[in-house]
């Protein structure tokens, strides 16, 4: 079992980081490191939004794969349950991780001592990838994220998240819901369409609906009365006009049309509300890179 070295405490840039006094046996069963590192400490508010940014050089000690102890110069205890820790990465950017606060205490010297565990993989981790990617909410028929959109925007403004375009989506121009797209009537957009099948009789060039050829004895051309027609040698099929069961319009080909199942609005592609669909990226912090 490793023992923390209490004679190594120091103050850097007005912030002091010390090895916590509280015993955390599970963490202490793991290798711990002591490093001096610039860190951003951003409290996560109860609504998921960022609190006041704290950015300082600190001597981080007791860094392990499972958690971190940190001393901040802060007048009062933090109200939230989690912090986002940001560290300069080797590539020059910043990497972030969520720390779930296990304990915090206000010392007489004004230092707030925080001990916590990395929240990766738990519900407390606001940096979890599934919270930052859009997904379809089947109840709302729209795209949602794990965090409110305004909250994502706040984190983006702080530089924690980076927004990128995933796709462009066509939404209902009335209610903004995600419609279903299908081939529909070119006039009213209804999906209840029926396509006739035409028969082209080679010998007399007659083209008519297949039902016009049907007789009790088999297929017979209604123009020249030739009977017992054989497909391929006597006739071929052609796609016929499309007829709408709702409005009765006839046309050559159905068009791509949308139906909003929330407000029951039918519309064409040109009428739809085209919106960009973003996801958010965060450079995740590997705690062990702090130690290195």
């Amino acid at each position: 079992m490793m023992t923390p070295s209490t004679d190594r405490s120091e103050t850097v840039g007005g912030f002091e980081a010390e090895i916590p006094v509280t015993a955390m046996t599970d963490r202490r069963s793991m290798p711990r490191q002591e490093v001096q590192q610039s860190v951003a400490v951003i409290p996560v508010m109860l609504d998921g939004g960022p609190g006041t940014l704290q950015w300082a050089d600190a001597n981080l000690r007791d860094v392990s794969a499972s958690g971190l102890a940190l001393h901040l110069r802060h007048e009062s205890q933090l109200s939230g349950r989690t912090l986002v820790i940001g560290v300069e990465s080797s590539s020059g950017g910043r990497a972030f991780a969520t720390l779930r606060i296990e304990s915090q205490s206000q010392a007489a010297d004004g230092l707030l001592r925080i001990g916590g565990k990395w929240a990766a993989g738990s519900n407390d981790d606001i940096l979890a990838a599934e919270k930052l990617r859009p997904r379809v909410d089947p109840k709302k028929l729209s795209f949602v994220y794990g965090l409110p959109f305004d909250t994502l925007a706040e984190w983006t403004r702080l530089g924690v998240f980076r927004r990128y375009l995933v796709d462009r989506v066509l939404l209902c121009d009335r209610c903004g819901s995600m419609p279903s797209w299908r081939m529909g009537c070119h006039v009213c957009g209804s999906g209840r369409i029926h396509r006739d099948r035409l028969v082209h009789h080679f010998a007399c060039a007659h083209v008519d609906r297949a039902v016009e050829y049907e007789t009790a004895e088999g297929l017979q051309c209604p123009k020249c009365r030739t009977a017992n027609l054989i497909v391929g040698s006597d006739y071929e099929f052609i796609d016929g006009p499309v007829e709408c069961c709702d409005c009765g319009a006839r046309g050559g080909q159905p068009t791509m049309a949308a139906m909003c199942h929330r407000c029951h609005h039918r519309f064409s592609m040109e009428e739809s509300d085209e919106r960009p669909l973003y996801a958010y990226h965060v450079e995740r912090l590997d705690p062990l890179t702090i130690a290195r």
Partner: protein
């Protein structure tokens, strides 16, 4: 030489000159020059009457629902221009493009156009079935009163659709022929000659036959039909000559066919002699197939559907497309055995006579056509026209003979083989 010819001519008596020119003056002149002059005189009288009475002719009073059918095979290059000339040219004009199994992306161009123009419908035939089936395939896609057929390598002139639908105010009219003109006349000498020929044979020629009530052809490149009438006669039959066949069937059913000279359409001429000859052979094959075989009953006065105008029409075809071509050939053969020192002078006299007839027609064209400069420019090829017509007589003779003897049209790839095999060989 010219002075010798004049001296020879001055020595000839009037009777001798008329004897030499008799075939021209009795046959070609009435048919191709005097007829047009008669039409012109009638129009002058009519115009004078309107001027005196102060009655103005209102041109566009009829506005039926129309559908333009553009059927083609591998016409991707020219289709868009044809569609653009149609779009917006007539109120609520429906456009149906039929792709007869093209492999050059014609259907994709049509679909692209249809996406931007909601009134356009694209019909794709899985395999090539011939022009007749392509036109028939458009019928289930429209219920418009008037169907206007336009070749996909053609484009329309100003107000062409307005002009072509006006004759349908008369319920007896089932088909209206538009004027087909050459789009680029000065590509080479052959296109120039065709441009001149189209003006004379279509613009002036059909004006004359239409006034006589014996118009028997509606150009496939630009014609309009009453939907109800063509459904009654079974629409288009297998070609070649499907446009003429439908026109004759409409006439036999009691309908009238008329000509709208100012409904003009511009089409691409063929550019080499081989293709021109092939095109004309196809046209002439149809005369044998239709007027001598399929519809020969039109000449039977004891049939219930006999009409005198149809009889005159079929006589006209027999005489000018068949009988006179053989008479011309026999005359040449006779000349070979009767060559004398003045034979060349005789031919020069005939040439001059034809030039006079051509000049008269050019004058009439200048009177009727709105594009007078274009007509005049095209008309400068006039000295070569008699020679061109002589060549066309040989082509007609060749085509009529091979069709009469071998039914050559049923071996032609204008109609795909799987259709040729099963259709009726008249």
């Amino acid at each position: 030489m010219f002075s010798d010819w004049l001296a020879w001519l001055s020595r000839m008596s009037t009777e001798e000159v008329l004897c030499i020119l008799a075939p021209i003056l009795l046959l070609d002149a009435p048919r191709y020059a005097l007829g047009s002059v008669a039409v012109w005189v009638c129009d002058l009288v009519g115009q004078a009457y309107r001027d005196l009475t102060g009655i103005d002719e209102i041109r566009f009073t009829h506005r039926p629902r129309c559908c333009a059918i553009v059927a083609g095979l591998n016409e991707a290059a020219s289709l868009e221009q044809a569609l653009r000339s149609l779009s917006g040219s007539y109120p609520d004009l429906q456009i149906v493009v039929v792709d007869d199994g093209s492999t050059d992306g014609m259907a994709e161009i049509a679909c692209e156009f249809a996406r931007a123009h909601g009134e356009t419908t694209v019909v794709r035939k899985p395999t090539r079935g011939g022009k007749s089936s392509a036109l028939n395939a458009a019928l289930p896609f429209t219920d418009a009163e008037i169907l206007i057929c336009i070749d996909s390598d053609s484009h329309l002139g100003d107000n062409a659709i307005w002009e072509i639908v006006q004759p349908f105010t008369d319920p007896r009219v089932a088909a209206v022929s538009g004027t087909v003109l050459v789009r680029q006349p000065f590509v080479n000498l052959l296109t120039w000659l065709q441009a001149s020929e189209y003006y004379r044979s279509i613009f002036l020629g059909r004006m004359f036959t239409s006034r006589l009530g014996i118009l028997g052809i509606v150009s496939g490149a630009f014609g309009a039909y009453r939907r109800e009438a063509i459904l009654r006669v079974g629409a288009w039959d297998v070609g070649p000559g499907e446009d003429g066949d439908l026109t004759i069937r409409l006439r036999r059913s009691g309908y009238d066919v008329v000509f709208a000279p100012y409904a003009q359409c511009y089409t691409n001429p063929v550019r080499d002699m081989g293709r021109l000859t092939k095109q004309r052979r196809r046209w002439e094959w149809a005369i044998v197939t239709l007027e001598c075989r399929k519809h020969i009953e039109m000449a039977n006065p004891f049939r219930a559907d006999f009409r005198f105008s149809n009889f005159v029409m079929i006589l006209d075809r027999w005489l000018y497309s068949i009988v006179l071509q053989y008479a011309f050939a026999l005359y040449l053969v006779w000349q070979v055995f009767h060559v004398h020192e003045y034979t060349g002078y005789q031919y020069l006299l005939m040439y001059v006579t034809y030039m006079i007839m051509e000049s008269v027609q050019l004058f009439l064209l200048m009177y009727y056509c709105e594009e007078k400069q274009r007509v005049l420019k095209i008309g400068t090829v006039l000295p070569l026209m008699p020679l061109y017509y002589v060549w066309m007589r040989f082509v007609t003779l060749w085509a009529v003979s091979e069709e009469l003897l071998t039914r050559r049209s049923y071996k032609d790839n204008f109609v795909p083989e799987h259709v040729r095999q099963v259709t009726w060989h008249w």
